[in-house]
Symmetry: D2
Subunit: 343 residues, 4 copies
Amino acid sequence: MVKVGIINVTGYVGMELARLLYRHPQVELASITGRSAVGQRLGEVLPHLADIDLVIEPELGEVTLVFSALPHKTSAEAVAAALERGIKVVDISADFRLGDTKDYEKWYDFAHPAPQLLGEAVYGLVELNRHQIAASRLVANPGCYPTGALLALAPVVKEGLIDPDIIIDAKSGVSGAGRTLTLGTHFPEANENVSAYALEGHRHLPEITQELSRLNPALPLAVTFVPHLVPMSRGILTTCYARIKEGREGMGEFEKGVRELYRGFYRGEPFIRVVDAPPQTKQTLGTNVCLIYPTIDPRTGRLIVISCIDNLVKGGAGQAVQSMNLMLGFPEGMALEGTAVYP
Amino acid sequence: MVKVGIINVTGYVGMELARLLYRHPQVELASITGRSAVGQRLGEVLPHLADIDLVIEPELGEVTLVFSALPHKTSAEAVAAALERGIKVVDISADFRLGDTKDYEKWYDFAHPAPQLLGEAVYGLVELNRHQIAASRLVANPGCYPTGALLALAPVVKEGLIDPDIIIDAKSGVSGAGRTLTLGTHFPEANENVSAYALEGHRHLPEITQELSRLNPALPLAVTFVPHLVPMSRGILTTCYARIKEGREGMGEFEKGVRELYRGFYRGEPFIRVVDAPPQTKQTLGTNVCLIYPTIDPRTGRLIVISCIDNLVKGGAGQAVQSMNLMLGFPEGMALEGTAVYP
Amino acid sequence: MVKVGIINVTGYVGMELARLLYRHPQVELASITGRSAVGQRLGEVLPHLADIDLVIEPELGEVTLVFSALPHKTSAEAVAAALERGIKVVDISADFRLGDTKDYEKWYDFAHPAPQLLGEAVYGLVELNRHQIAASRLVANPGCYPTGALLALAPVVKEGLIDPDIIIDAKSGVSGAGRTLTLGTHFPEANENVSAYALEGHRHLPEITQELSRLNPALPLAVTFVPHLVPMSRGILTTCYARIKEGREGMGEFEKGVRELYRGFYRGEPFIRVVDAPPQTKQTLGTNVCLIYPTIDPRTGRLIVISCIDNLVKGGAGQAVQSMNLMLGFPEGMALEGTAVYP
Amino acid sequence: MVKVGIINVTGYVGMELARLLYRHPQVELASITGRSAVGQRLGEVLPHLADIDLVIEPELGEVTLVFSALPHKTSAEAVAAALERGIKVVDISADFRLGDTKDYEKWYDFAHPAPQLLGEAVYGLVELNRHQIAASRLVANPGCYPTGALLALAPVVKEGLIDPDIIIDAKSGVSGAGRTLTLGTHFPEANENVSAYALEGHRHLPEITQELSRLNPALPLAVTFVPHLVPMSRGILTTCYARIKEGREGMGEFEKGVRELYRGFYRGEPFIRVVDAPPQTKQTLGTNVCLIYPTIDPRTGRLIVISCIDNLVKGGAGQAVQSMNLMLGFPEGMALEGTAVYP
């Protein structure tokens, strides 16, 4: 059993990591820390995890790999310290997702405390960076919105099949906003309600454009990303719109072929399912699966791609464990098996 | 008191009409019919309407104006019969919204039983057709999705400020799907879930394009419309995307000016509120208000317009009563006053 | 137009008062104060109330009657000050509901700052205290749970028809917990969840027992009250259980007669509806109605009474306005008309 | 691998069985049947189960054990046929839960087609009947409400510590009503709503009284059971009320001791957790756990016991698999491990 730890277990991704790691046959969750509740048993703070017999510690114990689920900036410091101790890291925060320190100043308002690590951090979208992740000691786990958007768009961006004008309209459950209390996530306000937010620019946007650009540096991307809050606890449905590049729409077989293109791109991927009918977020609840439905608007010829994920699993703790499995040499899907909790 | 009636009161728009008409100081709800429950008191079938002392009748009684809330095709027949009796009609169904009989064959699969009336029917979006509605004896009440989309797009389409490529991404509460039982609207399936549907073409699309084209016949529209089902009972949030027409984006003041443009277009409108922050569907619950938030994506210069309505009020019974008020010579907002039931 | 005010408009009952008073034809909402947001327009803070053209003030202006929606203790001080200025008061807080100062120390942990007013305050359940309310200058608006429980139990307690062992099992929407942020009312935690709370004793219990005892001082009450939180914004369903007093169950006609007893007790009450089928909270949404369904368990002969209210209307702002109407000499139901917003 | 089957996989318990069996390391789900969708792949009908590579068959194949998830009456016939083929059965329907054929006529309106089997069927509440289940070829899986109520009450009923007057007030998520479409479970009607139902007598009542009587035949039970529908997909919270028997309340240590009594009664039970704070249904989502919180109302001395389960797992498919494990000689908790999907 390989020992792993979680820094800041009390947030939503932290507790989801604990749920998944508890199922893992080759890994032992050996050390957990929290920003509050130090000294308490995990089950006292999070009764649904009462089966996990651990005390929340002030400092990380001896582990081979750690997940840092701290907020940005604080996380970078903890990550650097863990790496110095020789511990491999999957960082849940945004602190190692962007390659340019200026982006942290612009989007997150802080001077990065460990810029020397940005170069070696690998963006943890396994379907795009499998080999680099397996070889890395520092993985930056993607944000929930970027996961849904990138998986939906990667095949056509990489192949250069669409115009650079891309619209990403995402609908997220409220757990995506985290466990910190806000008026907008107070039950009577969020319930029976839908709203758009961050229209001036959401922090996940630079992450999306950076990764899309890596897939196809020649494409002069113009991405509009509008996130929406929807009254459910979990799940993100992302609807992407783009025009087929001139000269490609005439391929004739494209309209039928787009699904084949996606099936080819994701062939063999254990957690990607290209589906033949519009998917629902509920079909992914509790699983690491991403459902992708690419189609062509029959009137305008426009490409529409819809993806569904559980924001806390494939969009959070699940793909972090997927990366961990690669980094530790385990089968990629270990502890991530199973079908959705439906309905 | 002017006597009015409701044909098929037991659907969601039918019962919402009853709620609003019961508040109306100048109108008496005098006759209600249903496809089922004939002979029962309204309060037996719909306990929340127990204060309304009426029996569901097999045939419409003597009224000056009637709302037909029947399904399509059946409604056209009932409307024609009522007009023959000299009764003014607000038709809730789609049967008189489209001008071309071929559209009914294509989108609704039936041969229109009263094509001679299509020419005189007025599309009941008061903000665009106020005078024609006031002078009409037959108003076609808009669909819920078209209401949100058209109000969001009318100013820029009419002014020719955008490119013809328009994306409409709508998020609707489940009552929009009506009261007919389906697996997709069964609570355990619709709850904690988001899905897109009708990607091959929703019946509200021809209505949207027809009305946008009327506003600006020169614009070669290419509209993509994707409706989504969201786990709430009421409300539609519509997010529209379009590119500012070349030559107009350089106006400089446009970015700040788009909101002024909208304020100018809707000046004096009692039920349109152009707002300075992203609106929420909950802020319209139970009211006839449409909240509109136009903005410019600062990175791409793309126009984004968000609108929020209560699908059963402004998107249904409310604007039907607004039209009725005009047709009967009452102040437009009578029985439609009041603020949202929040939270 | 009589001028009225709201102290602390930004809580859920405060904003619901604004909604109802805005509809009132004889009353002008003339002054509103808040604990925060002083100096801002009401519509900036609460966009759904944008039609109400008022600024949140630091101090109450000139009014004839005021609603105090402050938290307990603070409210008592504001109420005393208003009364000194000759302003009539409906106090939304618990500060004048209990007759004994010791109860405030025991249940609310404070020494009452205005004990001299406890004697004259009238408990604002109009159906039980109509005449005293009309004659009073200080009305203590009941808590939401006591409203549902007392209306369900008053007829049989007053008539001495049940044993003193009473169980009150209440299910409340989350707005009942107020607008203050807590982990338990954070959307992802409260959603898809039911829980019981305050099993050691809820603050509404002494209010329930006090008022039941007033109805029948001879009954040695033993009330168990367990409130539950249910994932909806509004509504309380209260299920009450009691045994029919020995000697009365044999009345024979009682099993059929219990509904008649209730109908008789509430004859002429505009907001009480004794119904023949189990009611639903949704049937009261946005209204001042209380639905009551008394029945007899056919196997045990036990009395079961179910009541449904909208916790923010009949259980809050609505009955406060009902009391105000009486205190100002208006028809009791003014501004409270209308049927539920359903579905 | 032992082969097992599911008759009627398309209902909520059927599909949950598939989810759990798919995780089972010693069992192979080898045959599934449906009342509709015969010939289709499971993933076409239930996309969230696409990983399970099976076709819905008209007839049950060769298996060692089968779960029948048919409606009552139909199930009895299928069960009898399977037993004749030498197949062990866990029956999900009510058809073998009651010992007296007259109860089927009275509560379910049918003459039992296989009365000869009623004597040998074992009621599948593992915590009460572990050994009989292990030795049986026919287990009657308990109803969801009885599971929550019986586990909450068994310790005090068996020990004879309470009076026979028992009130069971249960709050259930909507999946408990099954997958058949009804107006009451249509999303817009069930959402933002709470209601009580079956006050004239719910079919789960005879099951509850029968099993409580078996635990303590001397107790002349008078059980009132009121089920409520709550707007969530999964979960049942059951609140039970009873008076401590005279002579026992004076035990002094009882008030503190009741929790110890429960802990003792359930010592070693892998799926029962007696907790020290009021539990929440959400803490059990997706798991086979039953949380039990017994407490004493400090004012009346009345016993209150609250239990929480996932109605489709411990209240359905989960305990069916728990029984299967015993019947097949596997560790009782196999495939049932894991913590709740929270939030």
